[in-house]
Amino acid sequence: MNAPTAFELEVLSTTLIVLALVYALVKYLWSQPLQNGPGFFLGNEVPAGFYEGPGRTWLKAYRATLAALHLVLAAALGACIVLRRLDLWYFGTPLLYVTTLLAFHAWTRHKLGSNPPIRPVALALETRRLGDYISWPFEALSATIIAFSWWLLMRHGGTRIEWLPPLLFTWTALVLPGKILIVRSGSPLPAERAEEHYRYQDAMRRNGIDVLSAWSWLFVIFLFGFALRRAWTPARNVPWLQWLILGIFWAFWGYMMFVVFRGQRLAANMGRGLLPSGSWLTPFRRASWTRMSRPYDIWFAIWFGGIMVLSLYSMYAHL
């Protein structure tokens, strides 16, 4: 058995990402505007008969945007393969994907949801404790592996080590503040069917935390594998050990994809007929359509921005 080459790794990783993107497109994204039923378009309340009239144009525009986005991604992938710069594609894909979908959501909200109705609001008198959502032993284990990986790199490196990748992996894995903010975030509940809205919101909260946890573990394993390979000579010479670490990494990747798609399935099943967050006004304010609080949105912008900056710098350093 040979050790995996950089090319083999890139091919395998790219295949996994492409499969996930295609599955998400076909299974969920294509019909996402209709997820809350015929009374809504992408979480905005629309009048009866909307889909017999202007709704058709909106749906076409949404699907055309999705098709264009995926065509651009496919073309970019081809170009990056030819140029042998798949790192550019790894960097550009989430950036283009997230910004395009967010821009379309914002445009739809501006055009269709600018004057939402005011409804009575329900307040759930349930206490949300961090310990009910976050597993502290797993957080401690994750922190220990990260610390051990850095110790390996610093004390047993022996050879010249590039510090940017471990820094990027560590930054990406640090999602505990995000998880705490998810527990603390709550969207107003409509008084009508408050219990169902509450259960839906809580299921989404738990799923959001699971996604962040899986994502974090993915990069903890990546960091550990990186440290082991750089700092421990046998890890560079024993192919099966490298394949084992890669196998663990892909198992976590698979788990993360499972959690992401489970969340989509839950949202589709539980959210049908319920009022999407942000489609109505409480007597005091409009709910955030992201279902998250402002502190979470700020944290996410800093965290995601940090990943983008480190990735960009990493690419620049390799030019």
Binding site: L123, T127, R184, F284
Partner: protein, 128 residues
Amino acid sequence: MFLTLQDNDKRPIYQQIADGIKALIARGNLREGTSLPSVRQVAGDLGINLNTVAVAYRQLQDEGFVTVRHGAGAVISPRPPRPVNQAELYQPLRTALTQLVLAGLKGHEIEEAVRQELTILQQKGGAQ
């Protein structure tokens, strides 16, 4: 357990929250020892100022409905003792009856309304 805040309610928000919690206690839905969510959680969930919720909780504490322990949050207290002063006890009833009379309701309509509200209160939680 949910507390509903109406869009056409003219009372201040803190008062709606305090009155809503008191109604749940009266119905027996919130029993002694039950923890209430933190001020931060309530303010975040409703999208209102922290101080607004703090004022509501403080009012409940002053009236003896909740006990606020540092670090443990607000907990429903044992039912506060009945005020010895009957005038104090009946004052809110007098205010409400005055409003109903001023609204033009007849005596028998008011009696019927009071009976209905009392029935609802007793049915929902079996309050004593």
